[in-house]
């Protein structure tokens, strides 16, 4: 028992003295003036969140925990930083959830880790974890005793996608999985508030830790959190306008355009929260890439797909696109890319329903959803084939007006498609578009 506890603690304790020569340690060098500058900005951001009542009180609690945690984390010796972050995240589960829920989440997590780390063949390990997930999905429908209702969506949010990435990555890794890396990947403080969570890549998170000087990383984080809060505030305005418009009042093209635009801009809630989440992680040294790249300014559907929810796109590339492409490339590059791209959109549609099940407790199958992903996928494939067959010559510059036209055209097309996705039925959407009838 004592040996087991010691080994468990050693996973979280600072690594050996040999790690002292870690180049990341230099990037964590503290500076009182720079710290004060960062802290003042965080204080202002927190004040904005409180004064404007961004999100709910639980969000304010999240911000308070994270910002005060940063103030402690910043001054810790480098070897203690990640263990502190892991402990802060684990302990915060008991703040955001009932005690039973927190214990169950961590317990199930440890169980999954035990399976992943066992010496069993990979297929057996993956099969056991998948079986556990399937059993949970089946049992969750009946609300078994001993499992608080809040447990199931949080369980889904933590494991439904990241476990796929994790298993994919450990399959080809040398050495046994590390508990420390497992805990920091799955139990992430902001996830307790945001069920819809950016699909952080396991390898990217591992490499991102103190990849840059902490002051640059933290400043980037504050910038992104601020951008996120602004988007959340804009979302409130847009939601208010959207809710005050009844579809039957769409009696002109201007009213239709406004209706479609507002429906699309509701996505600001997702991009706003994702900016805030990743920005928050920057404070603790995780120099992760941005989640959205100016998607409103996409110049083509392929460009839009690359810019909106970048983490999802990277997940699809890793798990679906590249494996299928590499398997088919001997039959021809174009064919392989087309099949791989089609598979990505099919997988996205299916996994979107899978996510809906875990987070909302019901199976999603609507024709607007099917049509949206089908049409978007088909158009991206057409765009892809066009780009392959008509590559832009090196150094070629297109006229500026053409660039603006492409952005406007893409934005308009996405807005129309988005309205289909948000519509309860295809008939509703058709009625909306044919406002003149």
């Amino acid at each position: 028992m004592a040996t087991a506890i010691t080994r468990l603690i050693s996973y979280a304790l600072p690594e050996s003295a040999a790690a002292a020569s870690d180049p990341r340690e230099k990037r964590a060098t503290a500076n009182l003036v720079q710290f004060a500058r960062l802290l003042v900005q965080l204080g202002l951001l927190f004040a904005v969140i409180r004064v404007f009542r961004v999100e709910t009180r639980s969000f304010h609690l999240l911000a308070a925990l994270a910002f005060s945690g940063f103030a402690v984390h910043y001054w810790l010796p480098f070897r203690w930083k990640e263990p502190f972050w892991i402990l802060l995240s684990l302990a915060s589960a008991f703040v955001f959830f009932y005690t039973e829920t927190a214990i169950l989440l961590i317990g199930v997590g440890i169980l999954f880790f035990g399976i992943a780390r066992s010496g069993l063949p990979f297929r057996v390990r993956a099969g056991l974890i998948a079986l556990g997930g399937a059993a949970a999905a089946f049992v969750s429908r009946s609300g078994p005793p001993g499992f608080p209702a809040e447990f199931w969506p949080m369980f889904g949010s933590l494991f439904m996608f990241r476990m796929i990435v994790y298993l994919y990555d450990i399959r080809h890794e040398r050495g046994k999985p590390s508990l420390r890396e497992y805990l920091r990947y799955f139990f992430v403080l902001p996830n307790y508030y945001f069920l819809l969570f950016p699909l952080i890549d396991y390898q990217t998170m591992r490499r991102s830790f103190y990849q840059r000087d902490i002051h640059d990383s933290a400043q980037q984080g504050i910038t992104w959190m601020t951008r996120g809060v602004i988007q959340l505030l804009l979302y409130r305005v847009i939601e208010h306008w959207n809710n005050s418009r009844a579809p039957e009042n769409t009696t002109s093209f201007a009213a239709l355009a406004t209706c479609l635009l507002l429906a699309y801009l509701l996505y600001l809630r997702v991009s706003g929260t994702f900016h805030f989440i990743i920005g928050l992680l920057h404070l603790f040294g995780y120099d992760l890439p941005e989640t959205h790249r100016r998607y409103l300014l996409a110049s083509s559907l392929t460009d839009f797909w690359r810019r909106i929810n970048v983490y999802w796109k990277d997940f699809m590339v890793k798990i679906v696109y590249f494996p299928i492409y590499f398997r088919l490339r001997k039959r021809g590059d174009l064919q392989a890319q087309v099949v791989a791209t089609a598979s990505v959109f099919l997988a996205t549609w299916a996994l979107h329903s899978y996510q809906f099940f875990w987070l909302r407790g019901e199976v999603l199958f609507t024709w607007p959803d099917v049509l949206f992903w089908g049409i978007l996928g088909a158009l991206v494939i057409v765009n892809l084939i066009w780009e392959i067959k008509h590559p832009r010559r090196k150094g070629e510059h297109q006229p500026r007006w053409l660039g603006y036209a492409q952005v406007a055209g893409t934005f308009s097309l996405i807005t129309v498609l988005w309205s289909l996705w948000q519509a309860p039925t295809v008939e509703y959407w058709m009625d909306l578009l044919t406002w003149w009838k």
């Binding site: 080809h172 890549d201 690359r306 890319q337 892809l384």
Partner: protein
């Protein structure tokens, strides 16, 4: 290793960053995570590496751990050539 890095740097600059100064593409400049290398561009780069260095890249080797910077890509190529990947 340095020769491999320079080959890769030249290729990336020529194909994906035309007009960019070579000094702006450092060994550790993020390529995948910054969006410089899209998935299609990564495949194009992989084709170049396979033809130029006579290696074969597998799907699970295309992650950011091997393909996010010039230094990472060069180290990966060297490991593959030495049969250590």
């Amino acid at each position: 290793m340095n020769e491999v890095k320079e080959d890769i740097r030249s290729y990336v600059l020529q194909e994906f960053l035309p007009g960019e100064s070579p000094s702006n593409l450092q060994d550790d400049t993020p390529l995948r995570t910054s969006g410089i290398l899209s998935s299609v561009a990564t495949l194009q780069l992989i084709t170049f590496l396979e033809e130029h260095y006579k290696i074969e890249v597998e799907a699970h080797e295309t992650g950011v751990e091997n393909f996010d910077s010039v230094a990472d890509i060069a180290a990966f190529v060297v490991r593959k050539k030495e049969g250590r990947s």
